[in-house]
Symmetry: C2
């Protein structure tokens, strides 16, 4: 009986967007695809491309673009290198010294390590700096501001400490780095240092490089501090492509450049400064893992910070490789990863790039063997991601009109490592990418990548049945212009969590030697990423209709609205309570008279907000989504091509209608009303940002204005679902 049962052919495997026969053919195609993936390519390309510093504007950066372009060409793609000319500052002078109470000059250098062969390749190495810091020459007393976030300054103010006219030192972590100088400047600081505390990034986490993979005493983190949450891309050409002749702002008018000079340093350089701070002992949450008592200052440590940069327009080379589609060739599936690093960039970005190359090679082989995907596939390899998504943003801005018309999805990867699959993006693609992750084997365990991800979720207390919830996207990689400026459904994919790539993030030690020792030694997860990226790209390109589903989106948005109502309620209760404590002088009673305590001003009470428009929109979404599902389930047989074209247009539009042309308050470049990088978190997402940030920042009337705006896009989304349902109903 058992034998008889298993001898029966299995029920046909369903695949979102595919007919049964289409699914079977696609699954067979993926077998061929998997079989052609070669680890040797991954290893060789990673080693080759990480041999020299290949940041934006470097000789090797151009070579990398040309090498990649040549490969794509050889695999049968229509390739072009598209060049943009963004402003990109590189250091001319970096000087940091303590002038009192002791003399100390910061080294600002990552030394050569015998165990790390490329660390000795000094030519063209960009030194440690923060791109888009203004030039500056400042001297002032130092104040330690913890992570440098608004709440940290509140804690300082309660201790009577003001940073006006001072230089602040913040530790990396708990927010994107660019927030730190922005908030420091808002509070009147004249300079900003950011150091890597070993508590977040060093020996507290694991053994330091080269013994282990984590950041060493002199390791430091380069990185952009452009005010990305305002707008990413070239600071001189917001909203338009930085082509050769584009109209440009002057540097002085570019609002995304910092207001004060800022420099990242290692903990070895930070220690003497922190040790020389007096003033109160830092509150518990401010203390890191250095062997010292953290004090807040101000002073007596006084530092002199001098920074000068070479501000020049720098060519960015984007590689664009097309594989034209068939019957739905006007619909574009875009897959991308950047190619520029801060220095050698073995992990960031090459560990993501080389799997995408191998994926593209295998796709190219399938095409050479006769497969023509229904939709067009465009592989994009971006330059200048590190300075702030320059290549992707300028390309997306340049081609905005076409993209809005043709792009059905953008699938991004970036650095990739050993561990768990990481899935984030547009919730309309939640089911789709879950299906793909369920079909990729985790190379360390005999289960799917999805199953292993589910397991760690379970351990962490999330019990997810069915599809795993996608993370919402803030920023931090090239998906931002596609999702948040153009409204193209987006996915971000990768693996990680067991590697130590974070320990050399944006350092010269992000090298081949580090990668094969501490990240993905056997390139197993590089293969897994190629498999996942390949499935996502091919399925998006080949599906009969776009594999968009609405359940995940509705669930996610309903959750966000629920969070917003709870946020307002909690702030109302907390405000009432903290105002009551102030009125009762409770903290004055508790405070130690040996320390200084300055009572904050009472906060304005939190009004009740009218969330009804959002709640009604959710109800409408639920009705529309249910109707669509029922109609789809009832569908028998394939749709005719014209219906599929019409349906795809509508499905593509669901993400588009989540934009609003005016953008978010005070940052028109960001148009998406559901996902945005936080104005005070950076990479960290704010969902329904217009409403959420208005509440968080206590702009009550703005919150009242933003609620119907967010509700309107959700209603428009529901309208698109209804239109799609209509197409399904019309077909039969």
């Amino acid at each position: 009986m058992v034998a008889a049962l298993s001898a029966q052919s299995p029920a046909p495997r369903a695949l979102a967007g595919f007919s049964d026969s289409g699914a079977a053919a696609q699954l067979a195609r993926e077998k061929t695809f998997d079989a052609s993936l070669q680890r040797g390519n991954l290893q060789q390309w990673l080693k080759r491309l990480s041999a020299k510093p290949h940041h934006l504007g470097s000789p090797a950066g151009k070579e990398v673009a040309e090498f990649v372009a040549a490969r794509f060409q050889s695999w049968g793609y229509q390739v072009e290198i598209e060049t943009f000319y963004p402003l990109f500052p590189t250091p001319k002078l970096r000087k940091l010294e303590m002038t009192s109470p002791d003399k100390f000059v910061a080294k600002l250098e990552e030394p050569v390590l015998e165990e790390d062969s490329t660390s000795g390749v000094r030519q063209d190495q960009l030194p440690v700096y923060n791109a888009y810091s203004v030039d500056g020459n400042v001297t002032g007393q130092l104040v330690y501001v913890n992570y440098g976030l608004p709440g940290d300054y509140d804690a300082l103010a309660e201790r009577g400490i003001d940073v006006k006219g001072k230089i602040v030192i913040a530790r990396y972590g708990n927010s994107w780095r660019g927030i730190k100088p922005k908030v420091a400047a808002e509070h009147g600081a004249i300079g900003c240092l950011i150091y890597s505390d070993p508590h977040e990034d060093g020996y507290f986490v694991g053994d330091a490089y080269p013994k282990g993979g984590f950041r060493s005493a002199s390791g430091a983190q380069r990185g952009s501090v452009l005010d990305m949450p305002l707008y990413p891309g070239d600071p001189l050409t917001p909203g338009i492509g930085a082509t050769k002749d584009a109209p440009r702002l002057t540097k002085e008018k570019a609002e995304s450049i910092t207001k004060i000079p800022v420099l990242p340093i290692s903990y070895e350089d930070a220690m003497p400064l922190l040790k020389a701070l007096g003033g109160p002992v830092a509150p518990r949450g401010f203390r890191g893992a250095l062997p010292l008592t953290y004090h807040l200052g101000p002073g007596p440590a006084t530092v002199h910070l001098q920074l000068e940069f070479d501000w020049k327009l720098t060519p960015a080379y984007d590689v664009i490789a097309r594989l034209p589609g068939g019957e739905l060739g006007d619909e574009w599936v875009i897959r991308g990863n950047h190619h520029d690093g801060w220095v050698f960039g073995a992990s960031d970005p090459l560990s993501g790039l080389v799997p995408m190359m191998e994926e593209a090679r295998a796709v190219g082989e399938l095409a050479k063997a006769g497969w023509k995907p229904k939709r067009s596939i465009i592989y994009t390899v971006w330059d200048g991601e590190e300075p702030m998504l320059l290549g992707s943003t300028e390309w997306a801005e340049t081609h905005a009109a076409e993209l809005r018309k043709h792009a059905v999805a953008y699938v991004n990867s970036d650095d990739n490592g050993r561990g768990f699959v990481e899935l984030a993006g547009s919730h309309t693609l939640e089911h789709f990418i879950n299906e793909a992750a369920g079909d990729v084997n985790d190379p360390e365990k005999n289960v799917s990548a999805q199953a292993r991800r589910r397991a760690i979720g379970t351990v962490m207390g999330r019990k997810e049945k069915g599809d795993l919830a996608l993370g919402a996207l803030g920023s931090g990689s090239d998906f931002t212009p596609f999702l948040q400026h153009l409204g193209i459904a987006t996915l971000s994919i990768g693996f990680g969590g067991e590697d130590a790539s974070g320990g050399v993030y944006h350092s010269i030690y992000d090298s081949y030697d580090h990668f094969v020792k501490f990240d993905d030694p056997d390139f197993q997860y590089a293969v897994a990423l190629a498999q996942l990226g390949g499935r996502a790209t091919m399925r998006l390109a080949e599906a009969d209709t776009l594999p968009v589903r609405f359940d995940g989106f509705v669930r996610a948005v309903k959750g966000y609205v629920d969070e917003l109502t709870k946020l307002a309620d909690k702030m109302r209760a907390d405000t009432a309570e903290s105002n009551q404590l102030l009125a009762d002088h409770v903290r004055e009673l508790v405070s130690d008279p040996h320390d200084r305590y300055v009572a904050p001003a009472p906060k304005d009470p939190v009004p009740f907000l009218s969330f009804a428009p959002l709640q009604n929109a959710i109800a409408e979404l639920e009705r529309s989504s249910t109707a669509f599902n029922e109609k789809e389930k009832a569908l028998r047989g394939p749709l005719p091509l014209e219906s599929r074209k019409a349906l795809d247009q509508i499905l593509m539009n669901t993400e588009r209608v989540l934009l609003r042309e005016e953008g978010l308050p005070r940052r028109p470049w960001f148009r998406h009303q559901i996902y945005a990088p936080g104005f005070y978190t950076g990479y960290g997402v704010k969902t329904i940002p217009g409403v959420r940030e208005a509440i968080e920042e206590r702009r009550w009337s703005e919150a009242e204005q933003q609620i119907p705006i967010a509700a309107a896009v959700l209603k428009a989304f529901a309208g698109q679902i209804d239109a799609a349902t209509k197409v399904l109903g019309a077909a039969k």
Copy 2:
């Protein structure tokens, strides 16, 4: 009108246990008492008594006892020095060295500091050691076990690490120190080191001594590791007084002595050992504030630990000073503080002792001026508290029969510092001590000590109206034999939270110099303690009837029962969940194959326990307590002496009936069924310990047995309330 109103005499101030006129007289007496307190005495005594090492058995220890006795004599007390002869080991040989991979010999010494004048008084200094470690000479690989608690060994086992035949190194903190070698021995370790990690005790907390008050690199914490939760006091005479001729166990039969050698070390001595550990990186909760990556081992660090002690019977000098009472002179109010230190002991215990002396001096003056308290007052000054409550335990055991008959309450203090009043003890005295704390001024803020305590509770999220809840007592000072062995209602009082006494706890730097710089520079809180202790003692002695109330007790016990039911429910759910994770191999899926993971055995499921007897007992307590309150409220006029005597006997008995002669399971010395030190927490209390520990340690049938036992003492308590109500009803 306002003037007229305020000109009226105020309503008479109520005071628990007092008639209106008695209360007025007592409040007037306290004004005189307060006026006679002299800061100069506090400062001079503290300086004098901390000039030399005065541990148990030291020449200066005897001098301290004699000095104190002479003072009490001069203040009009009937004084005797009562001597006991407990076993007390002192070091003959202490050797700790790393034999591989590197050679390192631990210094085991706290150096002389110029800024700390007594640190140079080397004669008679007890070196750094743990009293009641067995002798031993062991060599083994080292394993880092975090705080050394049972859960830490579970975490090690999951990583495939066994301590059998190994030497463990644990950090101080998160439990009383004696738990660490006990649990290590239970797991088969052959030796135990305990070091002071700066995360709990050093630069992470605040500036190290002498710059600040916190523990320095070579500072180490002496302390007893006697298995106090089994029984405190002389290990050779459990349950009976260690008089000269008492029958004694041999040392080998004394179960409270450790099973393995144990030594405390500074972080300076610990660093080379921790640095030489290999094996997995320690899990996050294991990591301290040293500048290294914490590894678990075992080895390669191999250490040799050799300890030899001089085991001798050592005279302990208790000072007992009596002030006989009047009409209720058979009822004894006992007030106590110890006089022995580990070395100079300025904070521990002198900061508590000298205020008690000044309190006694002022009480003596009142007596000389003609006041004769209704009840007798006994001031007790204990020797040998540090080795483990030797003086108090032996005295309480010796005088058990009298104490059970006469003692109405014991009020303990120990080290005292700057900050917030700390109130703990029998909940029948909750209202009483709240009243007293409400009448003592906080010296830093213009409010009562109670009000300031309430304020910090509010900040920490406890919103308490009316009386502040008393903490329940575990152990850690001389109250233990009175409360938990004899069932005498007990209070523990003191101030702290703003001082840095913890930074020199049990170190040679617990000195006068440290105290006047970092603890209570102006002796303000020493005066406050004298005021609070004086009020507690005088009011207990002078009240018409004992100021016992039941509301606080009923509320507390109801809370404990509620905790127990929730504990069982939570363990049941957690067990089911963790067993399910095991069955599903979830952690195996999540685990990093580069690390070792050993799945634990599934746990036995948690049965439903019959809590009804406890719940019914609570209901009975509530009824009885309400009836008592009503009757008391209805009372008009004072009770006759005989009724008051009868009532006091019953009220005294309420705490006695909470004992059970058989004691707690496996530790018969501990008889109290509501409060006990935790078998695996030490000083930390376990309330309703018979039931709670049975549940926590998964002994389900014992839990079922202990529930009715605990219920029975609560019912007996309710019976005493009813008896008290009857006395009130009979009077009229």
